[in-house]
């Protein structure tokens, strides 16, 4: 088979609502994904503020215990299934065809279907909050027996199952699209070893989705059968096992962590060379490290289950430790890229450096709790809450803001305000660390996660109050970003094709790109074709 740029069915561009509702253009779908996931982030962020408000002082009555359980369930679900992972899908939707010199995704209508399923899936999850007994309240991991019909009697848990199922199917379909597009639709000369690191990371992420998400879909079906069709897969009274749920869920759940971080490794790998004025150090090593991380992440699921006493702790501990090696390779390569570079500290670079600092803390605490003796102490405590927020909040969230500031000009043709961007970074960086750094201490002091109160004596009230204050500082940072976006939309100056002096192919075309992506392409002879052509 010989592939060339497929022709378009020419149609006049539509910028009205119908145009957006019926679009199959990857760029518009990408922007829809991004804006929808940011919307869900806003909701999940407000839920987290409610959580932190409840925990601002001990024995607070801001919400009831049942409402609190719904809050942390919806917060976790929305952040994981509706924000961090889908934001990467949106970014990839926008970027992959542009980075490989293609006209669109391989399956444009499937792409649009995936987006709408994601949107509707999220709405169905939140629909549970409108039912009599409220939304799901069994945590984002929905462990039986909490999620079984005997305890979660309301419709909220069923709608959660349906919503998460829809989102997981949408994610699988999108990943099929990504891999097919990258394998088949690369421009002439764009060999696999020349595609940008972000695209490589999305290939690795898509492979992870193929391997992990079917397990989630099957597990959700089993839970539904248990709840409504007389199944007993997770009911020990009838020979089932809650530990089975944990195996099946975490077989998805841990790779999902890497689905939420690998794309952002790609983002960082794109940004650091541009603002260091150097080619990326160790392109091949970065790619191989991504696949090593993806592969190893499939063999670590039961490190979430050390304390059950039913798993092979040394095996899972060893493989979990191993993941630190390729992750360290990436860190080394990013630092080596910056080393002796002509670094400039524009907002995307600030967020990238923030990512490095925060993710380092999250990574190190991850290595700590990979050790079963430490995990027995830290399991289900705020230490673990701090750890995964440093990975996904300090890591992924900072990379998300880096990506927004970096690719915003390409998406909308206007650069976000630099001064506001720096303030946004400062507020988020300070707010994030004030919120989550004290949680390590809370966990070591024995404060368990998912509780709506804590001991009124000792250091916990002060630590919790500090964390709550930090969360409101983060809110200020997010609001400043929204203000920045509004100001830019109204008064931002149009930018050139390549406002940063970047390297990959998306910077060759206009900002924003035309419907067919490229009027022309430069010769592609390296992984930096735009740099070569300058």
């Amino acid at each position: 088979m010989s592939a060339a740029a497929p022709a378009f069915v020419e149609a006049p561009p539509r910028n009205d609502l119908l145009g957006w509702l019926t679009t199959t253009d990857h760029k518009r779908i990408g922007i829809l994904y991004l804006m929808t996931s940011l919307g869900y982030f806003g909701v999940a962020g407000l839920l987290s503020l409610a959580i932190r408000t409840q925990l601002a002082r001990p024995n607070n009555t801001f919400v009831t215990p049942h409402e609190y359980a719904q809050l942390f369930t919806l917060h976790g679900t929305a952040m994981i299934f509706l924000f961090v992972a889908p934001f990467a899908l949106g970014l990839a939707n926008f970027l992959i065809p542009l980075q490989i010199g293609a006209a669109d995704m391989a399956f444009p209508r499937l792409n649009a279907t995936s987006y709408w399923m994601f949107l509707f899936g999220g709405l169905v999850i939140f629909l549970g909050a409108a039912t009599n007994e409220g939304a799901a309240a069994s945590g984002w991991s929905a462990y039986p027996p909490l999620s079984e019909i005997k305890i979660s009697t309301g419709l909220g848990q069923d709608l959660w199952i349906v919503g998460v199922f829809l989102v997981s199917v949408a994610t699988i379909l999108t990943s099929i699209n990504f891999v097919t597009t990258v394998f088949i639709y690369r421009a002439p000369g764009m060999t696999m070893w020349r595609i940008p690191i972000f695209t490589w990371e999305m290939v690795a992420t898509s492979l992870l989705v193929f391997m992990a998400f079917p397990s989630l879909a099957a597990t959700l079906l089993l839970l539904f059968v248990d709840r409504h069709l007389g199944g007993h897969a997770f009911d020990p009274a009838y020979g089932g096992s809650p530990v089975l749920w944990q195996h099946l869920f975490w077989f998805f759940g841990h790779p999902e962590v890497y689905v939420m971080i690998l794309p952002y490794f790609g983002v960082i790998s794109e940004i650091i060379p541009v603002f260091s004025r150097k080619p990326i150090f160790g392109y091949t090593g970065l790619v191989l490290a991504a696949f090593a991380i993806a592969g190893l992440s499939m063999g670590v699921w039961a490190h979430h289950m050390f304390t059950t006493g039913f798993v092979n702790n040394p095996f899972f501990s060893f493989v979990s430790f191993l993941i630190a090696v390729p992750t360290g390779v990436k860190f080394f390569n990013w630092i080596a890229t910056m080393w002796r570079g002509s670094i400039s500290f524009e907002t995307p670079m600030l967020f990238a450096i923030g990512f490095l600092l925060n993710f380092l803390i999250g990574g190190i605490t991850g290595v700590m709790i990979s050790s079963p003796p430490i995990d027995y102490q830290a399991h289900d405590s705020y230490f673990v809450v701090a750890h995964f927020h440093y990975v996904l909040g300090g890591g992924s969230l900072f990379a998300i803001f880096a990506a927004l500031f970096f690719w915003w000009p390409k998406m909308f043709g206007r650069k976000l305000d630099e001064s506001l961007g720096r303030w946004c970074f400062a507020l988020l960086f300070v707010g994030f660390n004030v919120t989550f750094l004290p949680m390590h201490a809370m966990g070591i002091l024995g404060m368990p996660r998912r509780v709506d109160s804590y001991a009124a004596s000792g250091p916990l009230p002060a630590l919790n109050l500090i964390a709550t204050c930090g969360s409101y500082v983060m809110l200020a940072g997010v609001l400043l970003f929204v203000y920045n976006a509004v100001v830019t939309a109204r008064a931002g100056r149009p930018v050139s094709n390549d406002p940063w002096g970047a390297n990959s192919l998306e910077w060759w075309t206009s900002s924003p790109p035309p419907e067919h992506n490229f009027d022309s392409l430069p010769p592609i002879r390296s992984e930096r074709p735009v740099y070569d052509a300058r």
């Binding site: 497929p6 020419e10 279907t113 169905v124 063999g299």
Partner: protein, 125 residues
């Protein structure tokens, strides 16, 4: 295609290796089954690529290819707009909601999904 094929073969080999290592160190059936199934699925894709795509000759794989080398061929057309994805997603969502709320809604939504699937096929011709 070579690297894509290599990717799936090496992933499948890794999955077989880790499944065996897990079985011999743990003797635990659930994890072994999932790792084994993962190996099978990756192997299936690799086999498909070997059998179905062995003749693939992608212009993107040629290191010295120029943009002109890829011009002039038509491998398909893209639909810029279609109402069907939104309709399909809405129908599938209605199936899900119907299953937990009302079987009638689920059945109607299923029929709608089948009809939309038919329209997809018609639109593709």
């Amino acid at each position: 295609m070579t690297i894509g094929l290599r990717l799936f073969i090496s992933s499948a080999t890794f999955a077989i290796g880790i499944a065996l290592a897990y079985w011999f160190t743990s003797r635990e059936i659930v994890g072994t089954f999932m790792l084994g199934f993962m190996a099978f699925a990756l192997g299936f894709v690799a086999t498909y690529m070997i059998v179905a795509e062995r003749e693939a000759n992608l212009i993107g794989d040629e290191r010295e290819a120029t943009i002109e080398d890829g011009a002039g061929e038509l491998v398909g057309t893209y639909t810029i707009r279609s109402p069907l994805p939104l309709a399909a997603a809405a129908a599938v969502t209605a199936i899900g909601i119907g299953i937990v709320v009302s079987p009638t809604i689920a059945i109607l939504a299923l029929l709608a999904t089948i009809a939309i699937g038919g329209l997809f096929i018609v639109q593709s011709r």
